[in-house]
Amino acid sequence: MLFVIWQILSMVLQARLFPTPVTVIQELWDLAVNGRLIADIQKTLTRAIIAFFVAMSAGIVIGILLGRFRVADRLFGTWVVVGLNIPAIVVAIACYIWLGLTEFALILAVVINKTPLVITTIREGIRNLSFDFDELGAVYRMPYLRRLRLILVPQMMPYVLTAARTGLSLIWKIVLVFELLGSDGGVGFRISMLFNFFDMAGILAYTLAFICVVLVIEYGIMRPLERKILGWRPAHA
């Protein structure tokens, strides 16, 4: 259906501005075989994955601390709000100026942008932990690690998965923008090159390839993971 609409639009609009699906797929093939598409996707994917895991780890730890200790939340809660609202581009430019146009600066900028979102989701999860299940663990004198594994972690998993899902979608976008702003490769960088030549077929080919990667991650990793971890919920049964 999407391809039909695309085809019709490309027939109505100028082919150079809106190439046909066939042209884009040909371009995609050509870029994959003769160009740098695979290397660029690998580069972007690596950056996104590193940033994702660092932001998730830091966000989970800080989120737990802020959710658990009121004093910590009072002290650092405002910083989280600032982190959530500060424009991503400002963080990226600051990191590039301070640390140079390096891989580290790019990943750090993504992590700084993403972490506050994880913190707020996890903090909310900690605040919503069931007192009743806490009491159950206390009555039956369950050892701490057992309570952690059987009571706390399962309650937190929906929040962790939400943070992961929203985080991934945010990270893709930010990584691409930051690559466009200053890097030596990756999907964002390549799209900026293609933009200089008004190469719409190339831009759409990169976009299509990128969408394919995102869908593979969604259906190959995220959804099976969600089914496995949250399969107990009535909606998933």
Binding site: D132, V139, Y140, P143, L150, W232
Partner: protein, 242 residues
């Protein structure tokens, strides 16, 4: 099978920081081993609070609760059936039982489910079970530790009468078989009349023992007339004290 423990309660005062009046004051009770004591009284009389003190999870009070001569928090872990079944929704019925006791075998957990009449539901998740079934799992879980003390906090609340009567039989069967000391909190005269050997009527806040009644006849065998008699006796006791 180990028999029940002697429970001695001597609470000078129990208060919550956000309340001016104590919830419990001058409360003395002894529950003999392998007997069933029912606590009844108005809402907010501190009955559930008392169960938490006996379970040893609340130690912030003046006085002492001894279970077989040991302070409640260091005594053997009791079995506890809460008002809501409080099953972990991400675990199967069998795993809910195994959650509270690390060394219990799968076979033993399954056996417990069979004892409470849940054959074939071992792998069911809590949301796949009816309210009555969930309470059976909660009872099986409470029995997993072969407790010397079984604390029941309104285990039949919000069940229809027919289902509550079915559950009375299940509870009576396991109480007879495991012989724990049972302390039951309930608002329902029929629940206490069917299960208890002794009924203690608590006053409103601060809760004190208002009246005690040894229930005539055998638990589970009391007919409508006997239950009516117990109800009348409790009403009389209430009026006499008032």
């Amino acid at each position: 099978m180990a028999s029940g423990a002697r429970v001695e309660i001597d609470i000078a005062s129990k208060r919550f920081s956000n309340m001016a009046e104590p919830v419990l004051e001058g409360l003395k009770l002894t529950v003999e081993p392998s007997t069933t004591l029912a606590l009844i009284g108005p809402s907010g009389a501190g009955k559930s609070t008392l169960l938490r003190l006996i379970a040893g999870i609340d130690r912030d009070f003046d006085g002492q609760v001894m279970v077989n001569g040991k302070a409640a928090h260091v005594a053997e872990t009791p079995g506890f059936v809460f008002q809501d079944p409080r099953l972990l929704p991400w675990l199967t019925a069998e795993d809910n039982i195994r959650a509270v006791r690390a060394d219990i075998t799968r076979d033993a957990a399954v056996e417990l489910l069979h004892e409470v009449g849940l054959k074939g539901f071992e792998s069911a998740l809590p949301h796949q079970l009816s309210g009555g079934m969930q309470r059976r799992v909660a009872l099986a879980r409470a029995l997993a530790l072969s407790p010397r003390v079984l604390l029941l906090d309104e285990p039949f609340v919000s069940l229809d009468r027919k289902l509550a009567r079915e559950l009375h039989k299940v509870f009576l069967k396991v109480i007879k078989s495991y012989r724990p000391t049972v302390i039951l909190v309930s608002h329902d005269i029929e629940d206490v009349a069917q299960l208890a050997d002794r009924i203690v009527l608590l006053s409103g806040q601060p809760a004190q023992v208002k009246s005690e009644l040894v229930v005539p006849g055998k638990a589970g065998d009391r007919d409508v007339a006997a239950i009516a008699g117990i109800s009348d006796a409790l009403s009389d006791a209430e009026e006499t004290v008032d």
